[in-house]
Symmetry: C7
């Protein structure tokens, strides 16, 4: 199987643990070299967070487990980059 | 024939296999150096995914076969770069 | 735990101390390599300020304490980057 | 005569041959170092494709012949770069 | 205290001295490595000018004094960067 | 006199000679290192073309003569860069 | 006094001398390393031109004299950069 190098996932989490602790825990996964967590929206109950993860072989199963152990859930997988290198998506006329 | 160096294709896939497994399988094709799969839209039945593939001689026939073996189909071919190097498309007055 | 490398937080502060003194004090935290404070809005009572902080292991607890000692409060944590390196968030179709 | 280094042309082609084969054939022209073919629009009969070609002395006559041998036609020539180097067009107040 | 490396301030000045003389005088402050003065608006009485200042330890007190000696006043402090390096502010979902 | 390093001119030309031949002829001028011709608009009679020319001492008189020998005319001179180096125009508040 | 490194000025000029001659004459000033003249608007009588000038110590007085000797006038000074280096103005929330 090819190496997963970048993942963008959309997550719903409760307010606790706070975003910093939550992100530290995801980044602590062995297969993850770095994570950026971006707060998209929040209401009284939940925070909607976009996670961008990179690594040389990101293990999605363990990422998903870590998300769920923190009381959160993966709402959708929005972008996946696999292979020897990251290929950047770019705009085409068909997107416009 | 000239070498295919980058391909952008629009794919319709069922929800299973999930996007990560799907992308890993496409990236595992011998002629593909890297793939990014971007979720464009989804409804109850299908996901509409934009695939950007690069390699030094991407074999579209085997890519298309891999897509179909995964229960998906290529809806359109949106951009193709061939030759000794990738030439970047850029905006002209006739696009505007 | 993974290293916090960048934080973006939204802060409400009174007019005193002025933004320069306030920013110098936050930047004086041992774990902070640099801070940019951007004035977002102000009214008679308060200034709404966006803080972007970087460091090799930003200690949020001490940042938050410094903010509060200056009479201000953290309104929200908007972005957190953790791990061996900073991963840049980038636009996907799901943001658009 | 000066060397043609980049050409942007607008082409109408039938659905057959598919865009990948079409692009490979254009890129196989001796004077062409690389081509990107971008699908602009399509209907039941034809595809409207923007071709960006580069080379150290692109021979337009042979490119046009190759396009026509594939059952397609050049609808317009949208940009031409000639000389010792490619000069990039840039926005001026008179475009705005 | 941490080093101030960049300041963006909003200034109201009379028409005299002209913007060039005004900017030269601000830039002549010992703690200022460079200044850009951008005319934002002007009416019969005053010019509204955005000053972007950089230096390795900008002394705001002397900058403010220089502004006032020239008959102008600081209307607001819009951005402050402090620390070992300049951290660039970047867009988040919460700005949008 | 200072050296002309970049020129942007707006040209009206008949359909013949075609844009490729036209651009090759302009680029063949001794003082011109490179030209990009961009089709802005066309109607039954004429093509409106934006020419961006660079060189170490572009001789406008000979460029204008070449344009006119090709049955075209210079409609306006939109940008001129002169001196030891090209200075890039950039946006200010007064443009907005 | 600090060194003027970049100036953006707004000029009104008659149609004669043409923009190329005009720009060559401004660029011929000893203190000017390069100039870009951008045509903003024109009517029957005058051309409104934006001049971007750079140099290691631009002498505005001689630039203004050169402008006036050519029958033109400086309408406004829109941006001035002074000091040891050019500091780039950048967007803040207060501009938006």
């Amino acid at each position: 199987m090819a190496t997963v190098r970048r993942l963008v996932i959309d997550v719903l989490k409760p307010h606790e643990p706070p975003l910093i602790d939550f992100t530290e825990r995801i980044a602590a996964q062995h297969s993850v070299a770095g994570v950026t967590a971006s707060l998209v929206e929040r209401d009284k109950e939940v925070q909607n967070v976009k996670l961008t993860l990179e690594g040389d072989g990101v293990d999605y199963t363990s990422v998903q487990e870590a998300v769920e152990e923190l009381g959160a859930s993966v709402h959708s997988i929005d972008e996946v980059s696999c292979g020897e290198r990251v290929v950047e998506e770019r705009a085409t006329f068909q997107d416009r």
